[in-house]
Amino acid sequence: MPAGFPPHSTTASLPQHGDRGFPFAAAAAAAAGQAPPRPRPAAAMQFMLLFSRQGKLRLQKWYVPLSDKEKKKITRELVQTVLARKPKMCSFLEWRDLKIVYKRYASLYFCCAIEDQDNELITLEIIHRYVELLDKYFGSVCELDIIFNFEKAYFILDEFLLGGEVQETSKKNVLKAIEQADLLQEVSDPPTSASQSAGITGVSHRIQPIFMSLIGESKCREKSIG
């Protein structure tokens, strides 16, 4: 640029380019016959839903900005689709341009939406690890624990997943963080637990632990069933 030119725009988002190769080098490369490395989008979980067999939403976590209306629509559609599937079907399904990974634990469906390029199996294990965390924290977790302590379920999820990405995969570390937080709490609060509060109103719920025999290694589960 010759001297004396007005120093035009300095906005950071400007595409910077030389005289050649602008504006789409990738397309040109494709035309030239070299296979351009297929861009893999930085995929992440879009949202996670927990709902019961009756279709009641128990937990919702959205990692993409959507309006309340859209969220409700998606939830309705997905709950229907997933509930209609038969037990032996595969845990993945294509839905709109996303992939849904879901798994049923006792009366609860855990359902994650991931992007097309994402790894389905590892997402399935994200679900499982979350169930393990809930189970460990609540002690053989059942649907009622999640209803009555929904805030805890959210806190645990935040420690494990943040912005749709796995933050900490160590069970010990996640639980340590939650327990430390619990220790900070005021002692003066009257304690309650799911089973107690169910007792308060005198209603007996059939409490089915989410896990049952799904993970075998723990013995505490047998205790709770018995």
């Binding site: 380019h17 302590n149 943040l162 304690p191």
Partner: protein, 940 residues
């Protein structure tokens, strides 16, 4: 004892939840909720100040109600109050409420941001994590603006706790995804890469996600991550199953981290450094070897975690596409999974193999599994798995196995789920065409397709078969015979009638020698379907009849009788009526020579990209199909020309040449073609068959916005749609300028007749001179052409020139118009001056016509640096220390035109409280002040 009872329970909340659960009906539930809402509202409004615990409890109840699906319109303030509580649980509930019920209420956002700021500065790791979680959960632009600069610092600070680093990394990732422009790159990026070496596996896990996202935009800045990722991966892969303690998941060491590292490596080409590459290949081999080892546990979690890594490894191998040995091994591994008892693995194996099929190294290996895949198509109980099998069959198809695959797909089509039929039809049609050695096979296949799934055969498919038959004379007789036979069926699909009508109309003479298919029989056969068909098909059949009149003079009286009948001549449908009248007239008035000329055989269609392929691409998204096609094209020689689709409305009629004879017919309307377009007379035929669209398209949507963005900058992308991208680079000096326009073809197909035109309105023309040379009318797929425009500003002007681009893509005509961002301010020269000079000149320009003022609301966040950049970008000098109020901006410059120079002073006063600006401009010419004021006001 369950951990829950650690003393945070809220009895009132538990009672409320129990109540809701006990409600017998939806009405009862709503009643109970309304009662609770009223109660909470009165508590919040009450005179008595609530203690933290009650506030927490009520906020939590509100949250519960919201999560049940009811709307909540209050309580935000109380939640925000909780944020500043020093009790952890109260703070935590406050943050949860904010994360779930984000509200863009600006008043509140400021308070929330304040609370977050305090917590981030608190140095209490638990509080810091809470604040970071909140930012990551909300991820809004406002939060990005407030914190995007702080978080990198927290992330790389030496004294940050591991848990804080983890949260900071993912928080930054979320902000970057939401608004990449807000996250400044800097020296921290290098330090982030080194987090891959961190002792703490959790920190590495979080950091990999961040790097994977950042490196997409700035691959060079993060290049070093490749070798670090390889060595990290290698350490994990080679570690014993218990080495990593709590990061081992069901005997699989760090599966999440491994998957993420493999994904990061897919952002880069294979490592150039031989040692790194060797190490990586070793890792990949180890993963493949491990897949063959007996499982360490029978649990599905073990195999899932192990296979998650395996599939990601295979993705990386496919991404590199350079190691034949690994590709074949991957393919064999997937082959084993095809018969695995886990549905999930079968599904994934089919999916992965699809991409393997497009690699030249593994295509043959994939083909060996054809029987298994066909079997999957027949036996899988889950439609999504069957869909994958169809995809894979399509991907592995080549000349050697096409007949088998097409036959299998056709037989599957009979029972296929309705949701995927159309796609299968397209795929069969493409494969049949692409790998046809014998065109009789092709014709049979398509007719079968129509027979089996006529409803799912789109127009493109039957157009295509007609194009191919017309272009290949070796198949025409066979086609006529086959459609004639197919039409014998008592019930046949309307699409078959269309194809039959068209083909017999063109080539019925080829089978007329056989007494079983004499002209009269052909006609009666077609006419027996006539009344069952829709209007467009009837119209097509009428055209067939007039062609018969030409081909077989002996049936002329029969056909004239039909045309003459009231049901035709007085048909309620205007199109049918017109055709009947015109054809009848044509058959009576015209001599045989004229008839033969008018109804001449269709000329071959020009070669084009298959319209069906285009349709499949559109259906499946361009990425998947193109890759497949491009690689396949190299392997197979295209046998058949790809004719272009006939225009829908005229597809039934032979191309008549608009000859003098035809016009000499006298009173008879000249067009045997479809519905006449708006123009009439003898130009009609030309209009139908060419794209003489000299009309300029209206401005493309969004072009206003793009235009505004260029007022303060000279380079960038002006316009982009699915086909075309227009980029600009321009430079201006005094009253002259030069603009480089780059037209990029984003498709893989040529643009023809590519004509960009610059249009200056009558008002603009005398004031702005634009000169350019025409560009090459053909733009190859993926190519880019450049056009230089020389600009001269003669006098000040207001309007902007319009750039109109017309071209042909595939069979269609495209017409795009955008405003070209040549604005008056481009001819600014900045002028530096001292405070004293400025005010002296300001006073000289005190004539009321010389000043223009505009007070307006800020459309963008008010940021001092951005504003400065915009004023400089606008072209004037930014004068510091001129205005007594440092918050104000003052600028000065001269607009150069050929005829005159216009001095210009400007002053911009932001008002942060009101989110308003006041812009004042003084120039020696009123029109200039006015225009500059308009342009600049739109920028803030």
């Amino acid at each position: 004892m369950p951990a829950v009872s650690k003393g945070d329970g809220m009895r009132g909340l538990a009672v409320f939840i129990s109540d809701i659960r006990n409600c017998k009906s939806k009405e009862a539930e709503i009643k109970r909720i309304n009662k609770e809402l009223a109660n909470i509202r009165s508590k919040f409004k009450g005179d008595k100040a609530l203690d933290g615990y009650s506030k927490k409890k009520y906020v939590c109840k509100l949250l519960f109600i919201f999560l049940l699906g009811h709307d909540i319109d209050f309580g935000h303030m109380e939640a925000v109050n909780l944020l500043s509580s020093n009790k952890y649980t109260e703070k935590q509930i406050g943050y949860l409420f904010i994360s779930v019920l984000v509200n863009s209420n600006s008043e509140l956002i400021r308070l929330i941001n304040n609370a977050i700021k305090n917590d981030l500065a608190s140095r209490n790791p638990t509080f810091m994590c809470l604040a970071l979680h909140c930012i990551a959960n909300v991820g809004s632009r406002e939060m990005g603006e407030a914190f995007a600069a702080d978080i990198p610092r927290i992330l790389v600070a030496g004294d940050s706790m591991d848990s804080v680093k983890q949260s900071a990394a993912l928080c930054l990732l979320r902000l970057y995804k939401a608004s990449p422009d807000l996250v400044p790159m800097g020296e921290w990026t290098a330090r982030v890469v080194h987090l891959l070496n961190d002792q703490h596996m959790g920190v590495v896990t979080a950091a990999v996600s961040l790097i994977t996202c950042l490196c997409k935009k700035n691959p060079d800045d993060f290049k070093t991550c490749v070798s670090l990722a390889v060595s990290r991966l290698s350490r994990i892969v080679s570690s014993a199953s218990t080495d990593l303690q709590d990061y081992t998941y069901y005997f699989v060491p760090a599966p999440w981290l491994s998957v993420k590292l493999l994904r990061l490596l897919q952002c880069y080409p294979p490592p150039e450094d031989a040692a790194v590459k060797g190490r990586l290949v070793e890792c990949l081999e180890t993963v493949l070897n491990k897949a063959q080892e007996p499982p360490k546990s029978k649990k599905v979690q073990h195999s899932n975690a192990k296979n998650a890594i395996l599939f990601e490894t295979i993705s990386l191998i496919i991404h590199y596409d350079s190691e034949p040995n690994l590709l074949v091994r991957a393919c064999n591994q997937l082959g084993q999974f095809l018969q695995h008892r886990e549905t999930n693995l079968r599904y994934l194996a089919l999916e992965s193999m699809c991409t393997l099929a497009s690699s030249e190294f593994s295509h043959e290996a994939v083909k060996t599994h054809i029987e298994t895949v066909i079997n999957a198509l027949k036996t899988e109980r889950d439609v999504s798995v069957r869909q994958r099998a169809v995809d894979l069959l399509y991907a592995m198809c080549d000349r050697s196995n096409a007949p088998q695959i097409v036959a299998e797909m056709l037989s599957y089509l009979e029972t296929a789920d309705y949701s995927i039929r159309e796609e299968i039809v397209l795929k069969v049609a493409i494969l049949a065409e692409k790998y046809a050695v014998d065109y009789t096979w092709y014709v049979d296949t398509i007719l079968n397709l129509i027979r089996i799934a006529g409803d799912y055969v789109s127009e493109e498919v039957w157009y295509r078969v007609i194009q191919i038959v017309i272009n290949r004379d070796d198949v025409q007789g066979y086609a006529a015979k086959t459609v004639f036979e197919a039409l014998q069926a008592p019930a046949c699909h309307e699409n078959l009638v269309k194809v039959g009508g068209y083909i017999l109309g063109e080539f019925g003479n080829l089978i007329a020698g056989d007494p079983r298919s004499s002209p009269l029989i052909q006609f009666h056969l077609l006419h027996s379907k006539f009344h069952l068909c829709s209007v467009p098909t009837r119209a097509l059949l009428l055209s067939t009849y007039i062609k018969f009149v030409n081909l077989f003079p002996e049936v002329k009286p029969t056909i004239q009788d039909v045309l003459r009948s009231d049901s035709q001549l007085r048909n309620a449908d205007v199109e049918l009526q017109q055709r009947a009248v015109e054809y009848l007239r044509l058959s009576t008035v015209a001599s045989t020579d004229i008839l033969a000329t008018v109804l001449e055989e269709m000329p071959p269609f020009p070669e084009r990209e298959s319209s069906i392929l285009a349709k499949l691409k559109k259906k499946k998204g361009p990425g998947t199909v193109t890759d497949l096609e491009d690689t396949k094209r190299d392997r197979s020689v295209d046998v058949n020309g790809g004719p272009e689709p006939a225009p829908a409305s005229t597809s039934a009629v032979s191309t008549p040449s608009p000859s003098a004879d035809l016009l000499g017919l006298g009173a008879a309307p000249t067009a045997p073609a479809g519905p006449p377009p708006s123009s009439g007379g003898s130009g009609l035929l030309v209009d139908v068959f060419s794209d003489s669209a000299s009309v300029v398209a209206p401005l493309a949507p969004g072009s206003e916005d793009n235009f505004a963005r260029f007022v303060c900058k000279n380079n960038g992308v002006l316009f982009e749609n699915q086909l075309l991208q227009i980029g600009l680079k321009s430079e201006f000096r005094q009253n002259l300028g030069r603009m480089f326009i780059f037209y990029g073809n984003k498709t893989s197909t040529q643009f023809l007749n590519f004509t960009p035109t610059l249009i200056c309105s009558d008002d603009l023309q005398p004031n702005l001179n634009l000169q350019t040379k025409p560009v090459d009318p053909t733009v190859e797929g993926g190519a880019q052409v450049q056009q230089v425009v020389n600009i001269e500003c003669v006098s000040d002007f207001t309007e902007a020139p319009v750039l109109n681009i017309q071209f042909r893509y595939g069979g269609t005509f495209q017409n795009v118009s955008v405003q070209l961002p040549i604005t008056l301010n481009k001819f600014f020269q900045p002028t530096e001056m001292a405070s004293q000079d400025f005010f002296q000149r300001w006073k000289q320009l005190s004539n009321p016509q010389q000043e223009v003022q505009n007070i307006f609301k800020a459309k963008h966040p008010m940021d001092t640096e951005v504003t400065k950049a915009k004023i400089i970008g606008f072209g004037s000098a930014l004068l510091e220390e001129v205005d007594p109020n440092p918050a104000n901006f003052v600028g000065a410059g001269i607009i150069h035109t050929k005829t005159t120079q216009i001095g210009c002073l400007l002053r911009l006063e932001p008002n942060l409280q009101a989110q308003m600006y006041r812009l004042t401009l003084r120039t020696s010419k009123e029109a200039v002040s006015q225009r500059l004021c308009e342009l600049l006001s739109a920028q803030f």
